[in-house]
Symmetry: C2
Subunit: 196 residues, 2 copies
């Protein structure tokens, strides 16, 4: 039985939804927004600020570093947020039985044998349709929104882990939610989590 | 129901064995050695030569090109072998209900909606143990054997497909056979193949 499931996902692939279904089916805690709230509580930053920075830094890292005047033990704001987030993820993992979405959790928990790492992706056309359906239309073309968000996730992951986001070496399983379907992806993950 | 399953695999990951189990469970034809024999029949080259070149060219492509003196419609030997192999894979896919291991089959059949593409990998330590067990010891260190073989597969795949071997975009599912186990990998693939 895997006590912790990390889900990394391309924007618009439905990885968050799959994580929620898995958590419900296994009776596990689900950390996505909850994680943001914990970081907010700990740091005093607003949840919306953390949502924006927690996975999408450090594109403006140098800026925030100078702007904040090294007020966090000599760390830039992004690095400080990452360190708090990292500590919270390690604590949550100690409690066990949880699904954690994004936030480099696969890397942060890489030394735990009771963790299963999942990557969810889908082709761009399907993801573009999904984000318009789920998040609504925007003046920015959906393909551009996908590229921007994935690029930020990729850069953020590389910066904090020195690994390549989406690289198969980092995951027990990678699934194309576009061809397989969200429900079926969740079923497979649950099966694997339950296996000895 | 997916009528064709392609399996790409890191050397030593047990991808071939998984493919065989899947083929047996689904009652599908299994093409690995069989494919080599068909190419041999068609070209007159020896099966052992094709085994070596079919996935591990074109490291010596320029050499074989000049050496063979453009005897294959102006193609180098490697390109000629690839073109024969490609044609055979397209023909086999037409017949349907089969598992094809390696040989860029995922790329060659990319336009068929009835194809499921699988990538099998495992960490180097587990693969090193496995190749010594399956193929026997060798004066060359197992880690070196893995690197050499995977490098050749990567270069061959890139040359003929212009895509990156192992890149998640190319597969419906990627599985770590080291953490999941060969039998369980095969079960998941069969489940997905059977799904509507």
């Amino acid at each position: 039985m895997k006590k912790i499931i990390t889900i990394s996902r391309e924007f618009g692939s439905g990885g968050r939804t799959i994580g929620k279904i898995v958590a419900d089916q296994l009776g596990y805690a689900f950390y996505d927004k909850e994680l943001i709230e914990k970081v907010a509580e700990k740091t005093g930053f607003s949840p919306s600020y953390i949502k924006e920075r927690g996975e999408y830094s450090p594109s403006a890292s140098a800026f925030s570093y100078s702007f904040m005047g090294r007020s966090h033990d000599g760390l830039s704001t992004d690095d400080y947020l990452f360190s708090v987030q990292r500590k919270i993820i390690l604590d949550l993992a100690e409690k066990g039985d949880c699904v954690i979405v994004g936030r480099c959790a696969d890397y942060i928990l890489r030394d735990r044998a009771d963790t299963m790492n999942v990557f969810i992706h889908a082709d761009k056309k399907k993801r573009a349709e999904r984000i318009v359906k789920v998040y609504g239309a925007s003046p920015v073309k959906p393909e551009k929104r996908l590229d921007d968000k994935d690029k930020k996730r990729r850069v953020n992951y590389k910066y904090y882990t020195d690994r390549d986001w989406g690289d198969y070496h980092n995951y027990d399983i990678s699934l194309d939610s576009g061809t397989i379907g969200l429900e079926r992806c969740a079923d497979i993950i649950c099966q694997l989590a339950r296996a000895e």
